[in-house]
Symmetry: C2
Subunit: 89 residues, 2 copies
DNA sequence: TCGTTATTTAGATAGTTATCTAAATATTTA
DNA sequence: TAAATATTTAGATAACTATCTAAATAACGA
């Protein structure tokens, strides 16, 4: 849970997730959408990977990143559990 | 969204939310559950308040903190939107 | 009003993080 | 094999954060 919330606590990383929601992308394609150096984006991708929010597979010269919704579902449940149990007898 | 994810990115604050899920508590009652100084807990409560995850109302000598699920619902939706739109045509 | 209890504010510090540039690794193509 | 492209790793730095102690504010009760 720590790695997950840490990963989500950054607007760049949240935007990356939203980009990958629509389609898989290479590191370079992701990097193109930001005014941030490629090494910095690589670092963000690493943090998202550690949280298991994304996975990357090399395809030749590129690495193809895709979103992993399993952990997001766990996170959504974390919220729903708090919401549902609140003020319940 | 920034304040929300920042607030959630700390195990102490997440535990406070889970405590308030069951019942309203004073700052002192919250503080008793942690090996952390009262000023530090007060600081955590402030961050949760800024994110509108909790609210505090003075009741005489005490301040009674309660959870606010509205923002949690917005957060849950943020996750569900990503989950549901992924891999959709 | 004075002392006690509850909580916050102020100021300091150690640890963490986002970012950068430079260099390294991996793959393809000529 | 050498050059070009894609990505990561290393090392440095400025900004942020969690924590502490000491002091301030607020409310109660004798």
């Amino acid at each position: 849970m720590n790695a997950l919330f840490k990963a989500l606590n950054d607007p760049t990383r949240r935007k990356i997730l939203q980009m990958l929601r629509d389609q898989d992308l290479s590191a370079g394609e992701i990097s193109d959408q930001f005014d941030i150096s490629k090494p910095s984006i690589s670092h963000h991708l690493d943090i998202l990977k550690r949280a298991q929010l994304i996975s990357g597979e090399r395809e030749g010269q590129f690495i193809r990143y895709s979103i992993n919704t399993t952990v997001l579902e766990e996170a959504a449940n974390w919220f729903l559990e708090i919401i549902n149990q609140s003020s319940d007898p």
